[in-house]
Subunit: 129 residues, 2 copies
C-alpha cells in the first residue's frame, strides 16, 4: 500500500466510506465501503473496487453487470474517513435496480417517491444463478 494512503482513518472494521460521483454530471451515484485491499485494487486497476459488507468480499463493481466505474480522481475529507471518487459510469447505470443512481428515492410530502426511471431491466444484466 502506498504510504500516502496511511493518512486514511479506517474505522474499527477497517473500512472507509466511499461516495461515487459521476464526473461528467456531478450526480452522486452510490455510497459504498472500501478496505485497504479494495482501495489498492482500485488504484491498481483504475476501476472502483469496494468491500461488500453483506458478502464480506472484494466487490469489483460491475463484475456481474458490466457496469464498471472508471475512476478519474479521488478526494479525501478533512477527517480522513471518507472518500469521493469521481467516476465515469459505464452503461450509465450504477444501481442494481437498473437506475442511473442508487439515490432514486426522493423525500416528498412525508414519503419517498421514486424519482428516476429504470434505464434497463436488471434481468438483462444479471445472469440467473
Amino acid at each position: 500500500m502506498s504510504s500516502g494512503l496511511e493518512t486514511i482513518k479506517w474505522d474499527e472494521k477497517g473500512l472507509v466510506a466511499a461516495v461515487a460521483q459521476e464526473a461528467s454530471t456531478g450526480r452522486v451515484l452510490m455510497l459504498a465501503w472500501m478496505n485497504q485491499e479494495s482501495l489498492q485494487a482500485t488504484l491498481d486497476s483504475g476501476f472502483a473496487t469496494y468491500w461488500s459488507r453483506s458478502r464480506s468480499r472484494l466487490w469489483r463493481k460491475g463484475e456481474e453487470s458490466g457496469h464498471r466505474q472508471r475512476v478519474k480522481s479521488m478526494e479525501l475529507d478533512c477527517d480522513g474517513d471518507a472518500l469521493v471518487l469521481q467516476v465515469e459510469q459505464e452503461g450509465g447505470i450504477a444501481c442494481h435496480t437498473g437506475r442511473h443512481s442508487c439515490f432514486y428515492r426522493k423525500w416528498e410530502d412525508g414519503k419517498w417517491l421514486e424519482s428516476e426511471p429504470v434505464v434497463r431491466n436488471p434481468d438483462e444484466f444479471y445472469k440467473a444463478p
Copy 2:
C-alpha cells in the same frame, strides 16, 4: 417520526450516512451521520442536523460557525442506508478548516494534495473556548 422514514435502515448504532451536496454546484461538501432524532430535527428545521459521533450529541451544523446548510431536498439509496441532502451552504464554507468542501485533498501521484484554498480562517468563526 414520520412513518415514511421507517424505510430507512439504521445501522447497529442507529445511524445512517448522509452526504451533503451543494445543490447549485453539485460539489460534495461533506459526509456525516444522522440518527432518527437528527433526521427529524432536519425535517422540522429545514437545516441539516447531524449526529456527532465524536461528541455523541446532536450537531446542528453551523451552530458555532454560522455555516448552516439549508436542505432543499433529500434522497435515499436503494439499500435504504445512505442519504444525499441537496443543500444551500451558508457562507460557502462547509469545512471546519474554512474550506468550501471537506473533500479538499486530492490523490495525485501517490499522495494527497490540498486542492482547495481556505476561504476564511476558522479563528474568525470559531470562538475561543
